[in-house]
Symmetry: C2
Subunit: 604 residues, 2 copies
Amino acid sequence: MEERQENPVLGVLRRYLPILTWGAEYSRRTFGNDLIAGAIVTIMLIPQSLAYALLAGLPAQVGLYAAMAPLVLYAIFGTSRALAVGPVAVASLMTAAAMAPLATQGTPEYLAAAIVLATVTGLILLAMGLLRLGFLANFLSHPVISGFITAASVQIAAGQLGPVLGIGAGGENLLHIAKSIGRNIGQVRPLTAAIGLASILFLYWVRGGLKPLLQRLGMGARPADILSKAGPAMALVATTVVVWGFGLDARGVAVLGKVPQGLPQIALPQFEAGLWTTIFVPALLIAIVGYVESISVALTLAAKRRQRVDPNQELIALGIADVGAGVSGGFPITGALSRSSVNFGAGAETPAAGAFTAAGIALTVLFLTPLLFFLPKATLGAIIIVAVLSLVDLGALKRTYTYSRADFLAMAATIGLTWVKGVEAGLVAGVALSLFLHLYKTSRPHIAVVGQIPGTAHFRNVKRHVVITDPEILSLRVDESLYFPNARFIEDTINMAVAENQALRHVILECPAVNDIDASALESLEAINRRLKDGGITLHLSEVKGPIMDRLKRSHFLQELTGKVHLTQFDAVSSLKPDLARRTLESRRTPTTDVRTPDGDGQS
Amino acid sequence: MEERQENPVLGVLRRYLPILTWGAEYSRRTFGNDLIAGAIVTIMLIPQSLAYALLAGLPAQVGLYAAMAPLVLYAIFGTSRALAVGPVAVASLMTAAAMAPLATQGTPEYLAAAIVLATVTGLILLAMGLLRLGFLANFLSHPVISGFITAASVQIAAGQLGPVLGIGAGGENLLHIAKSIGRNIGQVRPLTAAIGLASILFLYWVRGGLKPLLQRLGMGARPADILSKAGPAMALVATTVVVWGFGLDARGVAVLGKVPQGLPQIALPQFEAGLWTTIFVPALLIAIVGYVESISVALTLAAKRRQRVDPNQELIALGIADVGAGVSGGFPITGALSRSSVNFGAGAETPAAGAFTAAGIALTVLFLTPLLFFLPKATLGAIIIVAVLSLVDLGALKRTYTYSRADFLAMAATIGLTWVKGVEAGLVAGVALSLFLHLYKTSRPHIAVVGQIPGTAHFRNVKRHVVITDPEILSLRVDESLYFPNARFIEDTINMAVAENQALRHVILECPAVNDIDASALESLEAINRRLKDGGITLHLSEVKGPIMDRLKRSHFLQELTGKVHLTQFDAVSSLKPDLARRTLESRRTPTTDVRTPDGDGQS
């Protein structure tokens, strides 16, 4: 739709390389805006990428590595103009969980496995994009992903009480972390805790109080907003200076220590069939969770400027970015909510802003890492806690409970299992439960017995309306497509209705809400037709949609059908009981009935 | 519904013990009819139960054991008046497949494992019945079960070429069996093959030729029909006499040998956690395949006499029958198609007929097993081959291909994987693929852009009709419930439509075919509403069903909605563009359009 009268090869190139489209229109003005946004995001990204690398159990510099190649690759392949990719909290926690059974933190094997994880995650996303399997992400229903983000965020925050208080607080689920904190709470290091808690208070004050203060001091709303996003960087600089100035590292405050200087080596990840196989499921989960979060941010930002995001190309772009993270020594990345919003708010117009951020990180890696030596780990813990607690949405539990019990159940199970068993168990249980509940719901569709409303040709649910029925005719309206999850339920319903009514001579299925009849349902209809025939009852259909009629004509069903297919339910009853249908149509309408009712049965 | 003004305890008892209902009306006439039917089924069942035990890799008498307790228990708990339960071919093959990795045929461990398999199968069915989880059987779509029965039948028939030709022809899938036959085809034993092939020819002649012959000789149609079902028993007697008379067992014809005399011991199956866990998945598959086949037979027969079958109570009855098979030394059983039809045709009026069959088998076990010594295994192989080849339905492949490509794919995958990898792989792949295709289909619902038909207040698909639209209004009709499999697709569709049309000011979703909006879809609608709002576009809904409106009122969506919810699509357009809607309504209808069209868009 977007390219008209164009060289088809160029069309394909443009589709897979969005940079060709925006790059062609790139101007000096765009460059200026992108550069400013890129610089602002860099200042946010430095502390976050260090913190998330530690959260994933990796050396701090790996976070910086994971923030370069992916940004450049996304700039080439991505379709969102404002998405900022890189390390994020939830994917980092999932990385730590995936690595735990494979290697010990701090060993070269652990780093090697993280690189493989990023690569496999990327290849999965890439394959989903190229094979157009993006709909697989639909398996992850909203209540499950929302519950999972809340559960993971609480768990991350709890775990970060460790560095913030200077105690051990590890574990693969909230239960373990809570026990570990309970055991070690006596060993809190006062200086570390002071830095950690002060950082948390400062970061919360920056969030809420800095922007109004700056505005009162005469700063514009937008620069004030952007400056207030630099809170983490300010905390980082301030606490590093304090630790360095007072020599607090010698008094028990854990610091980052030596962070290697220089760009990462580009190297293919090690291929070991066993590791790749074991890592597949966690990688798939990281890929899908990452994609779902990322596309949601991208769509939201694109809508604000009426730009277009191609979900399929996003899979490809994120996939390539993750592979890029892998081969440049990083770990799994995805689109980040907070940084993308800042990037957008700071005026980023194209993905080039991301490339400028990557350049900023490269300068950091090349020149600034020595300055990070005295950065207290407590500050990074505080940055993580404040960042993830903003993702916790306990209100969603209540909202979902009010709206849908089935969805609430899936959400609660995801949260509960994540906290008790860990992130993978929580996600898998949530997905399995939502599929199960979905199948359960569709396996029992609403089937209404309908009758004719006096004075009209309309047929309505006998339980809700005063209608005329005939003991020899059973009219059923099925409010669902007929397919394998419910095929047998419909058989059972009709069998039972027939067994209970010995006077019955005709069954009419009214199908206005039937959008599909699959082979299982066709088989059931044939069985229903045969069984009714054996009992001396004819089967009729009414209001069958055109595409379904076309399909039924390709089977033997219409030849075998003992009754007919009628255009309307009224036609069906008229052909069987002309007098009754006409008399009902012409009778005075009773005052208690109404054609259009609040329950919407009015449609048929 | 069935019990009125009755003691509630008695009601529950009657529900779980159908024998109380039919037993109370039992008469001498019913007794006579049931006795005749029971005797006829016994004559069919003796050769079949011996043959299916061998097919399952078990001693012949185990087949007889599995044909007693289950029939008696089903008579107490079953709701079908004519279902004949006991050993069947497909479940026997699945038993052999489940046992293969666990124990060696002919060992006590193998028999013990088969007993555990029957018990676990029974407990699964019982649990499904008591917990009302019968809808789980819906996972098995018709194309998958039909493909599976065809694949298993061909595989069983191929495997029986071994005993029929007197060669080794084993293997867990068709590929192995074919290779094994290819290797051993040089060692065919002529006498065995003569008996086997003669039996096959005789059995086919009995099927096709005996009944007309008997009728020509003056016999009535029904007795002729019933007598022609005794073919296997005749073949059994004739070939046994020939082998005994000519001493063919000494000349290389394999015979059944000593079959222990006497009733089976009742004993609890051994409990070994490891074995029970390993056996769970095969037991679940046997339970579901057995249930699906059994309920289908039961429903078909019940319909012929307008009787009622309770699918849930059938789970309970089959479960208890399978546990009964286990504790009385048998192996998994289910309702048998051929014997049930004969039972019904022979005039069985109540499940007591089954109990009489059980008594007949008990007499056989007590007194007749010595006569089975010279029964050639080739005859049993022939009986199996003729029985299972009648289950092969290759035409279903063609019919399904014509009707639905997705269903055909699931069916072909089931058949292919069963033949190449074995029964469990085939079934699991079929179920997984149908779920996958189901999710894929529902993840991309039909969404039509609609416009107003001149001269009417009706809105139709712009691609199929001459309609009036307005560049500022986008009207979309979604022909599917909105739920997590398609929530994001709808977001994407609207995002793309909006990005392509810069003049747009209003989006209207027409929802006559939307039967559900789950929490994921609600979240998507909220996101769509927010994003449209950011782009200066209002979102409206029309023709929302009552129950869905009730639900939406429990969320914040209606407050946040930038537009309104309109009763009809015409109301929606009228409120936005009163002039356009009125002018279109009053304009002369163009002759090329029609309110009710063959594609059924007429419903909205």
